[in-house]
Amino acid sequence: MNTQSNGYTVVYSAIMVVVVAAALTLIAVGLKPFQQANIDNEKRQNILKSAGIAIEGSVEDSYNKYVKKSYVVDPSGKVIKDDAFKTELSKEELPVYEIDKNGEKLYVVPLKGNGLWGAIWGFASLKADFNTINGVVFDHASETPGLGAEMTQQYFCDQFSEKELFDGQKFVGISSVTKNNPKVKGDGEDPKHGIDAISGSTMTTNGVQAMVNDCLKAYGSFKATISGGKPQASIDEIPDAPESKLTNVNE
């Protein structure tokens, strides 16, 4: 057979593509359950890490030991679903994980936002008052290594511990010091709300700030329900957090 003819070349490549595509599909489908198990375990690990709990033994055992219950609330603070694990954070569905850390009650909530180059996400654990941050973990899809990617580092995350979200009834959230808003006080001067930005990563830090504030603010009504008061009529009554100015690109 003439292996150089046009017809042969076309048929050859067509068959090759179909065979390879079929094989890859089979592999992807076959391995999917194992991969999903890994992704779930990473999520469990991050939930525990944000609460400052070290994993003992298998991730799943630790998770089952510490996470007492989880549920999904709607923006008015009403529980709409049990078991938050499979629910992604969205405007209508806000997952909450309740953790019992050796007698200390913690709430863990997911965070989702945008960095400079792509998605950023994480978990925040809040103390029983749903006001004081206990700890956070962050991760990112494609921030710059050495600059924005530093957001996952311990030294940056540690700053969020003991920060307070509300000032009385007003949502203040956290604000980061950058070149553009020098009036904001940093971690050292404002232990309640100030965060030192990552040098050279204004955009990523602004993204982190917006993510933390936006996501936690959405739980405002839920906080009102757990702190004994009646649920607030509407989320709109909570004043806006200070806007971050996204004007400067340092990266």
Binding site: T3, Y12, S13, V20, N38
Partner: protein, 207 residues
């Protein structure tokens, strides 16, 4: 080439024809994944699997490949194997897959793989091609393991994540060399490996 003994196909890439130190191919990933031994070994195994199987497959179908699209066929075979390796790692070695990040995907562009397909698999029978692939994978892996061993030992004081430099040394003032963890040190170490190899092996010395 066709007359080369099978044992030499396995042995040559380890020393006389080493893909990294002699052919200077695949340096990029060698710099990136050698901070610790464990990812280096997984990377070495992954590359060996890809070079061996792609050599075998291309050699099996070498007489049917239309020569005008042979590079495309090679790429499809290599990509297929790399995706296979990546999917398996994601399923069974998730943490390591995250540590290796883009470098598993970049095996596709590793010059060693394409180089061996073009230079060897297209013109040889399946068994020698398979051995050539394994040999080159091992040759690449050997350098990775040597470099990773030195970098992890002096950079982190550990081997496979287990501390080997006793605490007593740290108390006496010894500290880990942070520079070892940076990519430039991998380049310098590979340079030193090439230097030692050339000093020992007469055939490699230029006159």
């Amino acid at each position: 080439m066709a007359q080369t003994k099978n044992s030499e196909l396995l042995k040559n890439p380890l020393n006389l024809n080493n893909p990294i130190t002699v052919q200077v191919l695949g340096i990029c990933s060698a710099l990136a994944v050698t901070v610790k031994l464990e990812p280096a070994i997984v990377m070495a195994i992954s590359v060996t699997v890809v070079t061996a199987l792609s050599n075998l497959i291309i050699s099996l179908i070498r007489n049917t490949i239309p020569s005008r699209i042979r590079i495309i066929v090679q790429l499809v075979v290599v990509s297929f194997l790399v995706i296979l390796v990546d999917q398996v790692l994601k399923a069974f070695m998730y943490e390591l897959d995250k540590a290796l990040s883009v470098y598993v995907g970049l095996i596709i562009t590793n010059c060693i793989v394409m180089g061996r397909l073009e230079a060897f698999a297209l013109g040889n029978k399946p068994l020698p091609a398979l051995l050539d692939g394994i040999g080159n994978g091992f040759g690449y892996g050997a350098i990775l393991v040597i470099v990773a061993f030195v970098r992890e030992l002096f950079g982190s004081g550990t081997l496979f994540g287990i501390q080997v430099i006793p605490d007593a040394c740290y108390e006496l003032g010894y500290s880990n060399c942070g520079f070892m963890l940076n990519p430039p040190m991998a380049l310098i170490l590979i340079g030193i490996v090439i230097w030692i190899q050339r000093a020992k092996v007469k055939e490699l010395q230029e006159k």
